[in-house]
Symmetry: C2
Subunit: 133 residues, 2 copies
C-alpha cells in the first residue's frame, strides 16, 4: 500500500525580523523543531549551516517532506518553506508558528498544491498576512 | 557588505519516472549534486533519508539556499524544489538538469520570486513543461 502523492507547499518571506535572532543558529534550530511539532510532522534528519559574516540555513527532513529557513540577519529577512505530503500534516500550522516566534513586521505567503498534476495555488483560510506591525 | 534578499524558487512535480531510479538513494544523491553543479551552486551540507517500504528524501544545503527531492517510487512521482538567492545561480538550470536525468513523462513547474515583498510568479523563458512522452 503506497501513499498518495498529494502535498501542500507553503512558502513565506518574513521582513523586519530581529537580526540577532536570525543569526542565532541554536535558537533557530529550536524554533524549527517546534514549528515541525506545531504542524504534527516527524523530524527524521536535519542539516544546518552558519554562514560568515552572518546568516543561517536550517533544513529539517520530515517523514512528510521538509521544513527550511534561510536567514539574512543584515536585512532582517528570512525565507521559509514547508512542504508536507498527505492531508494530516498542515504546513500552514508550521508557517503560523514561525510567524508567532519570529515576529516579522511583514510576512508574505504563497501556497502551492503539489503532486496532483498542474501545480495550482493553494487557498488556505487560516492565512496570516501581516501580524506584527 | 550584505547580500540582496532577491531569490528565485523553482518547484517541479515529475510524474512517470522510473520507480527503480526513485528508490536509489545513492543515484539520487549523485544526480542532485550534478544538478547543483549544473546551476553553479555550491553545496555546503546534505541530508538524505531512505524510507520504508520505499521512497527517498534528499536535501542539499547550498551556499545559495537549497535543493531538495522527495520521491514516491510506487507512484513514479517525485517533487523537487530549488531555491537560490542572488542572481548568479539560476535554479531553472537545476530543474532542467533534473528533467534530463529523471526523464519524467510529465513535468509540472512553478517558479516564485522571493525576497522582494509580495511573492510573485517567476516567469522563466527556458521552461520545459513536457519533455519525455
Amino acid at each position: 500500500m503506497g501513499f498518495s502523492t498529494f502535498g501542500r507547499h507553503v512558502v513565506g518571506d518574513f521582513h523586519g525580523v530581529s537580526g540577532e535572532v536570525l543569526n542565532d543558529r541554536k535558537l533557530l534550530r529550536e524554533i524549527l523543531y517546534e514549528a515541525a511539532k506545531a504542524c504534527g510532522a516527524t523530524v527524521v534528519a536535519e542539516s544546518f549551516a552558519q554562514f560568515e559574516p552572518q546568516g543561517v540555513t536550517g533544513v529539517l527532513v520530515l517523514a512528510e517532506s521538509h521544513l527550511s529557513i534561510h536567514t539574512y540577519p543584515e536585512h532582517g529577512f528570512c525565507a521559509i518553506d514547508c512542504y508536507t505530503c498527505g492531508t494530516e500534516v498542515d504546513p500552514q500550522k508550521a508557517y503560523n508558528y514561525l510567524v508567532k516566534r519570529l515576529k516579522p513586521q511583514k510576512a508574505y505567503r504563497r501556497g502551492l498544491e503539489r503532486g496532483q498534476g498542474e501545480i495550482n495555488d493553494l487557498i488556505i483560510q487560516t492565512e496570516l498576512k501581516v501580524v506584527n506591525s
